[in-house]
Each structure stands twice: as C-alpha cells, then as structure tokens.
Symmetry: C2
Subunit: 358 residues, 2 copies
C-alpha cells in the first residue's frame, strides 16, 4: 500500500460540505488502487479568523507544507468582507500560495456534452470547448513591491501596486505551460499586453525564447483585451493559454463561465517541488451554505487533479473522472446544472452517486 498525507482546508461557506464529499470519493478511489490516505483538517480563511484571529494560522501553513498534497474547499464571506487587508480571508489564500510556492495555477475549462446547455453561449459555439488556462500565481501585481498608500507630488493620496516579472519567473511558468500544451493539442497561446506594458514585453520575449525548447508546440501571442473577446467569440480556438497572475485571474473566470458550469471546474496549483494545492474554482457561496445545495463535483474533480498532478496517481484520478461522467450520464444534477428530464439532487446525494460509480 502506498500512503499519502493530505491536508484538508474546508474553509468557509460551502467549503466544508464539498470537502467532506470529496474526501470520501478520494478515499474510495485510492483504496481501489491500493492507496491509503491520512487526512488532517486545518482551519483556514474566515473559519481561521474566527478561531485564531488570522486567516492562515502558522500551524495550518506548516501542516500544508509537510503534506503530500493540499485540498482546499473555499474561503470568504460577507462577515469578513470589511476586514482590513491583513485580516481578510483572501489574504490567507495568497499567503498559502506564497508559502507553498505554487507558482503554476492550472485551470481547465471544459464543456461536457452533458452540460452544453448550461452555457449562455450558443450550442455550436460552446460545444467541444476544452481549454486550459495556466496562470502564474505567485508573482506579478499580486505580490510586487513597492505597494501601498502614499501621497504624490501634488499632495494627493495615492494607492499603488507594482506589476513585475523576472526572467526566472517567466521561464518557469512558460515551461510548465509548454509541457502541458505538449500533452494536449500542442498549441500554446501566451496572453499579455506587450503593446503597452514593459512587464509584458519581457514576458513575450522570454516565452518566445523558451519556445525553442519545444519545437513541437505551436506558440502564438495575443493581447489580453483581444483574448477576452476571443473567448466569447470563438472559444474553441484555444488549447492552452499561459498568462500572468492578474490576467489569468480575469480570463480563467471568464473561460469558466463560458462552460456554463463553474460548479464543475477544478484547479491545481503546483510548485517546483513540495505539495500542490487543489481547489474548486468556485467561491464559498455563503448564500447556499449549509443547505446541502452545493455542487461537489468541482471539488471531486480537484481531488482527481490532486491524484494526477500532485501524486502521479493517474489510475485513481481516472477512476474519479470517469465516475463523475458516469454520474452525469445517469442523470444526476445539482441545482446549478439542472435541466428538465434529469434528477435533482443535493450535495450529499451527488457525492453518494459518484461513490457508486467510482
């Protein structure tokens, strides 16, 4: 038996519900492949704020750093929205990404044939969309210094941030993206704003340089404003997209909405070595928390990414992915992806149906 230790960070809102379900699926898929997990649940986000006064307690970060992989539910909620910056749940998430050094954020956006009608895009535009956004996650304007508040030469208050990228940061995220594109359809689109920003000019130069290591991958470049349009116009043109932290934040959310089922979409955040961080891309949805209405499939699919990208356990990962497809084929739907003719179920029941299919 192989053994792995997993740190679970249920977080806030619907986080605990979806983590509970995903944990059971992970356990079963593992045991069928001779894998045993030890789980450690730690507080994070608003839950940690209420318990300890900080959004990422030291014990949580060090448990995560020692684990083989980290599975996160969701963080945030109205209650902590007006908190000062260092006491926001979001700050805890940024500290976790930084602390785990997970610089590569993988966000697949796939339109499943079963769910093509959930998209607000016309069927012929949405069907067959299968793209992956590779977002740089520990650099750029999210972390760049100097940052803060001050006054300008006219004595007016200012707020400022620094968008900064180094060759090292660009090169390593580019390599991750080229590797992924190589295993997909061999097309990488790098998104930047090199017609205006120096940080983007260096980005484009380095991505172009790294491309020589991947002659089998076709590289293209696109400005971010055009990319935001093209995702709406003809999303099927994209295979793999690589972009910086803030553009990745915006475009991956746009891409996920194009699939029409953000309750379905997982993500993986990986570093050079050390544990990866896996989480659904949806938020904590405080309005439906505790009502057994959440769609647990995004977190279940994040558990599959954990197996595949975090632990190299492709067989167990495939079990989960197939189980999700099978459950959808059997007609089970949570409210967010429901359409007439299907069976409406809650979070727990969806989890039980997936377990039957694992």
């Amino acid at each position: 038996t192989k053994r792995y230790s997993i740190t679970l960070l249920p977080g806030d809102g619907i986080g605990p519900e979806v983590i509970c379900v995903a944990k059971n699926v992970l356990k079963l898929a593992g045991s069928l492949e001779g894998i045993e997990f030890s789980f450690q649940e730690m507080p994070m986000g608003g839950a940690a704020l209420d318990l300890t006064g900080v959004p990422l307690p030291e014990e949580t970060l060090s448990a995560a750093q020692r684990a083989d992989a980290v599975l996160l539910g969701a963080i945030g909620g109205y209650k902590w929205d007006k908190n000062e910056k260092h006491l926001k749940p979001e700050t805890g998430l940024l500290q976790l990404r930084e602390g785990l050094k997970v610089f590569a954020n993988l966000r697949p956006a796939t339109v499943l044939p079963q769910l093509v009608d959930s998209s607000t895009l016309k069927k012929d535009v949405a069907e067959g969309v299968d793209l992956m956004v590779v977002r740089e996650l520990t650099g750029g304007i999210y972390f760049g210094k100097p940052r803060g508040f001050g006054t300008n030469e006219k004595g007016e208050d200012i707020g400022f941030n620094t968008e900064v990228y180094s060759t090292h940061e660009i090169d390593r995220i580019a390599r991750v993206a080229f590797e992924i594109a190589r295993k997909r359809r061999g097309q990488l689109c790098s998104v930047d704003k090199a017609n205006v920003l120096e940080a983007s000019m260096l980005w484009r130069k380095r991505v172009t340089a790294i491309a020589t290591e991947y002659p089998d991958v076709e590289l293209s470049h696109m400005y971010v404003d055009n990319a935001a349009m093209q995702l709406v116009r003809y999303p099927k043109q994209f295979d793999t997209i690589v972009t910086n932290n803030i553009f990745g934040d915006i475009l991956s959310d746009e891409a996920s909405m194009i699939t029409g089922s953000i309750g379905m979409l997982p993500s993986a955040s990986l570093g050079e070595s050390g544990p990866g961080l896996f989480e659904p891309i949806h938020g904590s949805a405080p309005d439906i928390a505790g009502q057994d209405e959440a769609n647990p499939l995004a977190t279940i699919l994040s558990a599959a990414m954990l197996l595949k990208y975090g632990l190299g356990e492709a067989n167990a990962a495939n079990r989960i992915e197939n189980a999700v497809l099978d459950t959808l084929n059997r007609g089970f739907r949570t409210g967010d992806i429901y359409s007439t003719g299907n069976k409406l179920v809650g979070c727990k029941e969806m989890g039980e149906e997936v377990l039957k299919s694992v």
Copy 2:
C-alpha cells in the same frame, strides 16, 4: 450657422475608408441642423510613422488640441508590429490621449434588436443588453511610473510597471460615471480588485465617497474576475460600469464582443475641457483594408457621439443614430453583420444608404 473645426485622423488599415464615409454623414447631419464643419486631416499611427518617423507628429497633436473635436479611424498593422515601443502606432494613440487629457473613455455596448443573432450568446441572454463602460483612460498602469526594465536583487532581468491612482484621478472619473448613470438607468457598478490591490482599495473608497453626491444613483462594487464572468452569465444586469484603465480595456472589449457586432460600436474620450476624441472601438483590420468591406457604422456612430458629447449638438446626433437604425431596418448589412435575407453591401454603399436616411 454654427461652425466647428474637426480634426480627422484616418490612421491605418480600414481607418481612411471609414473616416471618409463618416465625414460625409457628419457633414450632412450638421448642415440639416444649421451646423458647418471645417475638417483638417492629419497623419497618425503607422501612416504618420511612414511619413514622419513618429506615430504622433507634433503638428497632429497641436491640430487636435486646437480643434473642437477629434475623429479617429483606427491605427496599427503588421508592418509596425515589431517596432520598438516609442515607434509603435499604439504609442501614438497613448500620447494622443495624454496630450488631449481625455481621462474618461465611454464605451457603450448595445445589442440592437436587428442584430441580436450576431451575438455568440443565446438570444435570451443577449437581447436587450444596453450597458456603458466608463474607463479611466489617462492613468493607472498605462502611464504609472516607475516603469521599465532592470535587474532584481538576484541579478535576474525584470520588466516592471506601476499601477497607481490618486484621489483626484478617481474622483473625477467617478463623477463622470455617476453623471452618465444618472442619465441612464441610475445604476453604477464599480469594478476593481480591492481584495488584493491597494490601488483598488483607494479606488473603492473614493468611489464610495463620491456616491454621497449622487443619492439617486445606486452604486455597487464588483471584483474584476467576477465582472468578467457576469458579463457572460447575465450581461443585462449592468447599466453603467466604471473601472480603471487596464480593467476597462479588457472588460469593454469583452462587453463589445457580447453584442456580437463590434463593427457597430463607437467610443468617446472626454477631458475636463478641450476637444474630445471619438473613435470606433474596432481595430484597423489590415486584412480587409482597401477592399471596401469594412463596416463604417461604428465610425458613423462615433461621429454621433462627437456631436452629442463633444459639441452638445443632440439633434444632429439623433439624426445620425436614427439614420443608422433606419438603414439597418431597410436591411442593409456589411459582411461582419450579414445574415440571410438582408442586403450585403460594402463600406461605401453602406455610407450612401445612411446618407439617404439622415
């Protein structure tokens, strides 16, 4: 007779064709309302680079500054894509915005009933969309200093930019947006990334403060990643959006694509005083340049915005807007908005049909 002087900047690609058509429409609509124009055509963008070696010659900027309003076609093309930054057509555009101090960029995105099928969004999602993006245009990361290239403490090359906003810059764009929202449906959504960026925290604080001057306008706040999703999910929720330069660049392009007819969309850029800058939001489309295939309606509607926002000539503006609607109702379509049953026309013929309806 009222007299106005207009600087025309045809620019590159399809720019000259659409400007030529729009100029004739402007002339006729003006003359029917007792307005006379003097037009001065000046080089700008790639055309200016070829002619003078710089993308915005001094004579062009000073002619624009002296005019009552400026009408721009489009700039850029493959030929100048690899130019160094200070020799890019785009740099000329940024210099023009800065030189005219046009800090408020108004980008309407409207789905006309006649063209609802051009959208890639489902009909019930697209129909009735009528929103206005108010983008801050002369600040933020586009112009912030310090910017450039350098090395970090590890000796790696870096590229960097500064996102910075002052209270003054935020207050004045917020006021423009509140004024516009007041004349529309009274709803203003301010888009930022205040959960991460200090520049956005100040943005949110100031917009909230200015809101007290506009008790009749309903203000909401949204994070930029969520806004990118919501534009796809349910664009009808938006009336007026106000946001910073880079988020506005991305979101206004996304919004325009949602209408499915970017060949139809005008924009206005306004300052505290002095001439406004009016231009279609589409690019120079070098691939169809000179083939009489371009859709001139975006530039014609930009001329209407010039009359309305630039010169306060609402009657002449309405003439043009109604003429465009009438021409569409009579079934005339350029290739980009063509659907079976309509009459396919080129750029010039479309212009002539609009003239008939003015």
